[in-house]
C-alpha cells in the first residue's frame, strides 16, 4: 500500500499534469549514516559522489571573488558582458554564440522551455544525467528512451527513435555516469541524419578531462553550419567552481537570442561572474588540476581492474565500475568507512558504483577502505 500522498494532491489550485510524472531527485548520498554510524568528522569524510573537482580553487579566483564583496548589493551588470566575451574568446566563437547561466543545469531546465510543447518528443538515454528527463517532463514531453549499448550512446538507435515531433536529442559526452564519449564520426553521423529542426544538445560538462583523439566536438559541427547543435559547458567540473553556479551554452546566435529571452535578466551572482573571469585567465591552474584528475583516473582504473572489476574506460573525472556484487551494499559499507561513492542502480547498473576522482590521498583512502570492505 502506498500511503504517500503525492505533493499538491490536496491543493485546490490544480497543478500542471506533467509535473505529476517527475521522479524525485535522489541526492548524492545519505550522509546521515556517515555521521551517525561512524562519528567521523566532516573534514575526514571522503566524498567521491558528486563528480566535484578535488583540486583546491585557484588563489587568483578566490582573490577575484573577494574583490566583489564591496558590490554585493548590486546586480552584476558589467561583469556579465565581460564574462560572455571571455567565454566566447576561450571557445573561439563570437560573443553572439554564448549564453551564460547559473550552472549548466539551469540551461538543461531552460532548453525544454524553448523547444518542447506538450506531446512533443525528446530522445534521451536512461543511463545519463537524470535532469534531462525531469526538465523535459516539466514541459510535458513524451520521452523516447534509447538505452546505452556497451555503456555508450547507441547512435543508430537514436537516429531511428527520432521522428517529426522530436524536438531535442540529449547527449552527454563524456557521459555521466559511464564516462564514455560520443566520437567525431558518431556525432557527425547523428547530426546529418536527424532533422535540422531537432535540437541536438551535447552536454560537455566534463569535456576538459577528455584526452581521446576521436572525441566528437560539437563546436566543429556548429562551425560547419549545423545550427541545431547546442553545446553545454560548466565551470563546476574542470574549474572546481561547483558551489558558485556557473555554466554556459555555445549555440547558433539565433538560438542564443531565444535562450537569453527566457533567462532571468540577473541570473548570475557577482562571485560567479568574477570567478569565471579569473578562472579563464589561469591556464596554469587548469593544467595542473586536470593533470591531477587524469592521473587519479588512471590510478583508480588500474587499481579497480586489479580487483577483478570491469572498469568502464572513462573520459570524465569519475569512473564507473562493475563490482560483480551488490553495488548498493558496497556503497553502504563504504559509508561506514567514511567514504561516499555513488551507487549506480538508479541508472540500471545494480552491480556498479560510480567513484569521482579525488586528490591522491583521497583516492588512497578510498582504495584502503575498499580493501577493508571486500
Amino acid at each position: 500500500m502506498d500511503a504517500v500522498t503525492p505533493p499538491g494532491a490536496g491543493h485546490e489550485a490544480a497543478f500542471r499534469a506533467p509535473i505529476a510524472h517527475i521522479r524525485d531527485y535522489e541526492p548524492g548520498a545519505d550522509a546521515e549514516q556517515v555521521a551517525a554510524a561512524t562519528g567521523i568528522p566532516f573534514e575526514d569524510v571522503v566524498k567521491l559522489a558528486s563528480n566535484e573537482n578535488p583540486y583546491p580553487v585557484s588563489p587568483s579566483v578566490l582573490r577575484a571573488i573577494e574583490r566583489q564583496f564591496d558590490f554585493l548589493h548590486s546586480y552584476p551588470w558589467e561583469d556579465f558582458g565581460r564574462l560572455k566575451a571571455a567565454v566566447a574568446a576561450a571557445n573561439g566563437v563570437p560573443d553572439a554564440n554564448v549564453v551564460l547561466s547559473a550552472g549548466s543545469a539551469q540551461l538543461v531546465l531552460n532548453l525544454p522551455l524553448l523547444y518542447v510543447d506538450p506531446g512533443d518528443e525528446v530522445v534521451l538515454a536512461p543511463q545519463s544525467y537524470a535532469l534531462y528527463e525531469a526538465a523535459s517532463q516539466v514541459m510535458g514531453a513524451t520521452l523516447r528512451r534509447v538505452p546505452l549499448k556497451d555503456y555508450r550512446f547507441d547512435i543508430p538507435a537514436i537516429v531511428a527513435a527520432c521522428g517529426p515531433r522530436t524536438r531535442i536529442v540529449w547527449l552527454c559526452s563524456p557521459n555521466n555516469p559511464t564516462g564514455a564519449v560520443v566520437t567525431a564520426d558518431e556525432l557527425e553521423r547523428l547530426v546529418t541524419q536527424v532533422p535540422e529542426t531537432t535540437a541536438i544538445v551535447v552536454d560537455q560538462a566534463y569535456r576538459e578531462f577528455v584526452d581521446e583523439d576521436d572525441y566528437g566536438d560539437p563546436l566543429a559541427l556548429l562551425a560547419a553550419g549545423h545550427r541545431n547543435v547546442i553545446s553545454l559547458c560548466s565551470f563546476s567540473k574542470a574549474y572546481a567552481l561547483a558551489g558558485l553556479r556557473l555554466g554556459y551554452a555555445i549555440a547558433d546566435p539565433a538560438v542564443c537570442v531565444m535562450l537569453d529571452r527566457i533567462s532571468e535578466p540577473f541570473l548570475l551572482s557577482r562571485p560567479a561572474c568574477a570567478a569565471g573571469l579569473a578562472a579563464l585567465d589561469d591556464d596554469e591552474w587548469l593544467a595542473a588540476s586536470t593533470r591531477t584528475v587524469l592521473e587519479g583516473r588512471a590510478l583508480l582504473t588500474r587499481e579497480l581492474t586489479a580487483l577483478g572489476w570491469d572498469v568502464v574506460p572513462s573520459q570524465g573525472n569519475f569512473v564507473l565500475a562493475d563490482t560483480h556484487g551488490d553495488g548498493r551494499a558496497l556503497f553502504r559499507r563504504l559509508l561506514d568507512e567514511g567514504v561516499i561513492v555513488r551507487p549506480a542502480d538508479g541508472w540500471g547498473y545494480p552491480t556498479h558504483i560510480r567513484v569521482s576522482v579525488g586528490l591522491p590521498e583521497q583516492n588512497e583512502r578510498f582504495l584502503a577502505a575498499l580493501r577493508r570492505c571486500l
Binding site: 505533493p7 499538491g8 491543493h11 485546490e12 489550485a13 490544480a14 500542471r16 509535473i19 531527485y25 548524492g28 550522509a31 556517515v34 555521521a35 566532516f42 569524510v45 566524498k47 566535484e52 573537482n53 580553487v57 579566483v61 573577494e66 564583496f69 564591496d70 558590490f71 554585493l72 548589493h73 546586480y75 552584476p76 551588470w77 547559473a102 550552472g103 543545469a105 539551469q106 538543461v108 522551455l113 524553448l114 523547444y115 510543447d117 535532469l131 525531469a134 516539466v138 535540422e196 529542426t197 531537432t198 553550419g225 545550427r227 563546476s236 572546481a240 561547483a242 558551489g243 553556479r245 539565433a254 538560438v255 529571452r261 532571468e264 535578466p265 540577473f266 551572482s269 562571485p271 570567478a275
Partner: protein, 381 residues
Amino acid sequence: MIGADMLARSFRTAVCDIDFEWPTVNLLDACRQYGLEIDDVAYLAANENPYGPSPKALAAATESLSLARVYPSPSLRYDELRNEYAEVRDALAAYCGVPADMVMPGPGSETVLRYVTQVFVDPGDEIVTAPESYSGHPWACQIMAADVRYVPLRDYRFDIDAFLATVSDRTKMVWLCSPNNPTGTIITDVELRRLVANVPASTVIVCDQAYQELVDDPSWGDATQLLLEGHRNVVVLRTMSKAFGLAGLRMGHAIADPEVCSLIDRIREPYYISGPSCAATLAALDDLDWCREVVRKLQAGRRWVTQQLTELGCTVVPSQCNFVLADTGVAAGVMYDRLLRRGVVVRPGDIWGYDTHLRISIGTDEENRRLVAAMAAALAE
C-alpha cells in the same frame, strides 16, 4: 545546412511571441558616450540597496569560499554532510514567522516565480496582472504560453474592483505586487482581503512583496497573513535583494502552502543556489539590526527625495519602496539622456506607459543630492 527560417521554426511559438525585452543598460557604453568614469556614475536604475549587506554576511560569504569547489547540499531536508538549503529555509521561515515547510528558497525571487508558473500555468491558461507592474510576472507566464489579461492601475494603484471584474473561474493566476514596482504604492489590508475573499480558491494569487521591509504605512496588507489564515491559494514572493542588500548573490523565496512548496521542490534544479549566497543569507538574517538601520536610512532618503523633487515641480507618487516614480512633465527618454549626461542613471517610465515619468532608486545621501542637483539642471534645460 539549416536556414534561418528552419531554425526559427524549431522554437516554441509561445517563446517567439513574447512581446517583452528586459531593459538593459549598458553602463560601459553610456560612460564612453558621455566621457564618464564608471565609478562616478550614480546608478539609480535597478532599485538596489546602496548600503549593501551586513558586514557579517560578507564575512560569512568569504568563509564559505573554502567550499567553492563543491556543490551545496541539494536537499531541503537535513540529511547531508552540510545542509545549506535546509538551514536557509529554516532561517527564512523564522524571519517570516511561518513554518519551514511553507518556505521555498531559490536563486532570486525571479527564478522562484518562474517555478511557480511552471507548476501552475498550462498553455492558454488565463492569468491577470497589471501592465504597470513588475514585468517579470507576465514574462514568466508568457513563457508558459499563458493568456495574459491586463488590468490597468488606477491612480497608480491596483484597481481591486477591476481585478475582481476580470477574474473568473477560468483565471489560473492573479499577480499582485505590493508595494508595487514601479509606482511604490501598496495594496491595503482591506483591499487585499476583499480580493482574496472574492477570488475562487482554485485561482492562485501571487503577491510579490520584494519591497516589504521598506513599508511604513500601517494600512499595508500582508498576504502572508492571509495564507496563514487558511487561504492556501496565496503565494508570497520575498527577496534578499532589496532591504538586505544581497542582489549580487541571488537569493529570494516563496512563502506558500506546503503542497505548493513541495511541487516547486520537485521541478527545481537540484543545486540551484550558490554556496556563498546561502552563507551570506544565514548571516544577514542573524543581523537584523543592520537591516533595520539600512531601512531607516532608505526611508529617510525616500522622504527627502520626494520632497526635493516635489519642490522642483515634479509630481511624485508617494512610495513605500526604495525608489520613487516622478512625473517630470518632460518626455522620459529626454530626461533620461539629460540625467545620464550628468552621470545619473534612472529608469524611464515609458515601458510602463508613463511617458513623462522616471523611476528613481533611492541612493546614499550623496547620490540623492547628486540626483536632485542633476534633476534641477535637467529640468532647466
